[in-house]
Symmetry: C2
């Protein structure tokens, strides 16, 4: 099977970003192949702040496929991992590592077992599309190790079978997942609309919202919506196609006003379909609603969108500002309404790209406490404060697609044992 | 103009119930005439617990039309009051009160002024369709005083022009507001589907939910939805017509399972359309969501609906149980999760038909504190307690339509001054 000693270990490590949809994916037309009922569009987030890193190792000494997530072994038996693994093995090619004297032939991959270790650089439980980044990284890194020659489009269709939105994590910048027409799903792939450098002013602030409620998984929720919501098919067939075209144009023209209007409207419509499901699904809570009101009031008072919001299957808000100045003003408003609970350090409450804090003129908690309330507009809602309702903020930006980490010190598995370091 | 002395006062007093829609009205096709985009169906609530009482007085000594609501004078200049007043005056007929020696001819009504006093036997601010009961009572009582001969259908079309859902308060029991086709609105009237005695087992429990948020008025919200929600027209044209037929059948057959499923689904879809509006409208809050979850979990665990819920343009829940036994069990579950804040008397926390408390075996706060948590089902959500999140509960039932109060001691205006007592 392989030349030289039979105790070698070959490894590859990859890093893959998360993404957040601005035109939402909600509903499958094929549960097994994960084929969606409509196209979706996402932005890829900076992997420095939100990404999955995965190391895959192969060795003739491994007696079974094994996986560790964030240091803890998890079963690999699930359909989703298995179908990705099977698809990648089919495409595997000859690998030769002259330096290590390792040679694996195409057909060997069917018999060789792998060890996989994955790590998210953000809390998995925070509901920040960890499965999208994780599955994309799983597929991307396996493909690298197994010398798969196919392009990102093909890999995206494999990642899709692991977790639908994972296919959009195969590229940086702005990504479209085309639903496709083929019953086998061959044309249900992700394509890049524009790289992150096309529109690099955008700033993203994520509010991780405290929640005690256990949430409906998106897999279950989506299935319930398809089966019971009388509005879902109308959304998928009549509303989304037009929005996809408008969103592509807004991205092409860097038209923030249109981008923001479409992003907010589509987030709200996705949650409307959730509410129209039986039993109804509530992903947003009162804090989510207050964040929306804060942005809507600001946008109305300025007459043109200053920021966009979007919410996935959970209460966390992903806010998008057109530039650093607007992001600074947005962060001021957010911190006025959602200050950290007492005795919290500002630097652990606002994480990620901390330069936005400087942009907002905020160096310490004293500066936060001194923030004036946002100007009250005609509707005369006084701005209330809700300390503790947001767990923390992550400041970030658009980011690049998957990449191989060649620095071996970043590998998550030991090169000698093939077990987590 | 009138025979005898010129200082006489003639009065009439009426009482009109509130109603709660089970298939919702949301969206007008004509703002001025208040013509809806779809039919709706409501149940009329017992006027003993939730109703408006209105006294209308006429006298040649009155120099202008005046109105008092809950003891406070309010301007009558609004379009809605004015159009109702104008329409009723057009239909006014000769009135003769031989005992008092008063004779008013048809044409006199155009010149005579009225005093109107109205009172709601429930908090106006609680968001319990006070305008529906109020406008219906305004029209009904004016019509009685002015000896209007037209039937309730005609009166309902006048009340509709004051406040859309007011037309449904013109009957007891189960009421349908047919949207009509006529551009002038002549066929947009309410009809009774069945009287309250047709299905008199139903018990209604209203949870008045505490809220600090100022809500979007239904007039504004509805207009925004018509203008911006891509889902509203689909709901109105494609979803509601079928639901109306199914709901009529469920009512005809006293089929609680279908009645409950349709009621819950339609409430959720109305709120979904609100969320699909730009800017989005949130009427329900976390407490509303928790009440829905409580009912949904119970229904699922029993395999068949035990209770229905519906929410209007606010966070209050209107819960419908098929009979007193189920209502008692529902009240137990509600009080377990939403106990009164400390030092509250049970008798001021659960008002209306207190016999439901006895049905639930609850005599005092001690009994409430001793309630066991509802059995935990497979999904293993522990039942949490949220004291203070509900302001109070009102237990009631279906009720009858408007009626004249002949007991003069119940009049809200003095028979000698024509001013509030």
């Amino acid at each position: 099977m392989a030349s030289g000693t039979e105790s070698w270990i070959l490894m590859a490590t990859g890093r893959t970003p998360t993404n957040i949809a601005v035109i939402k994916y909600w509903g499958k037309r094929d549960e097994a192949l994960i084929l969606p009922v409509n196209d979706s569009i996402s932005v890829t987030l900076d992997p420095d702040h939100l990404s999955a890193t995965t190391t895959v190792a192969v060795s003739p000494t491994f007696d079974r496929d094994r996986m560790w997530l964030n240091g803890k072994e998890i079963p690999l038996s699930g359909d989703r991992f298995q179908s990705c693994l099977r698809e990648i093995r089919k495409l595997a090619d000859d690998v030769e590592d002259e330096k290590k004297g390792i040679r694996i032939r195409k057909d060997d991959w069917q018999k060789l077992h792998v060890h996989i270790a994955s790590y998210n650089n953000f809390p998995t439980a925070a509901g920040l599309a960890s499965s999208a980044a994780g599955l994309a990284c799983f597929v991307f890194t396996l493909a690298k190790l197994m010398n798969v020659k196919e392009d990102c489009g093909k890999l995206s269709s494999i990642a899709r079978q692991g977790s639908g939105s994972a296919c959009r994590s195969m590229y940086g910048g702005f990504v479209k997942w085309t639903m496709g027409k083929d019953a086998c799903g061959s044309d249900s792939i992700a394509v890049q609309l524009a790289s992150e450098s096309h529109w690099n002013d955008l700033v993203i602030i994520i509010a991780v919202v405290s929640s005690k409620q256990k949430e409906t998984s998106s897999t279950t929720g989506m299935r319930d919506s398809v089966e019971t919501s009388p509005l879902l098919q109308h959304r998928a067939q009549t509303v989304v196609p037009g929005r996809i075209l408008q969103m592509e144009e807004a991205i092409r023209n860097r038209d923030f006003a249109s981008f923001a209007r479409l992003t907010c409207a589509d987030s709200n419509q996705f949650h409307a379909v959730c509410l129209d499901t039986s039993p109804p699904i509530f992903y947003m809570n009162d804090t989510s609603h207050r964040i929306i009101s804060l942005v809507e009031r600001w946008n109305r008072s300025e007459g043109t969108p200053q920021a966009a919001y979007t919410f996935d299957a959970g209460p966390n808000a992903v806010l998008i500002a057109p530039n650093r100045k607007s992001a600074g003003l947005l962060l001021q408003r957010l911190l006025f309404c959602f200050p950290p609970p007492a005795d919290n350090e500002l630097t652990s409450y606002v994480i990620g790209d901390k330069s936005i804090l400087h942009e907002a003129g905020l160096q310490s908690m004293k500066d936060v406490e001194a923030l004036p309330p946002p100007p009250v507009s005609k509707d005369k809602y006084p701005s209330q404060k809700f300390p503790g309702k947001v767990s923390y903020f992550i400041c970030t930006r658009l980011g690049s697609g998957p990449r191989v980490l060649t620095d071996e010190s970043l590998a998550l598995l030991s090169p000698t044992t093939g077990l987590p370091k």
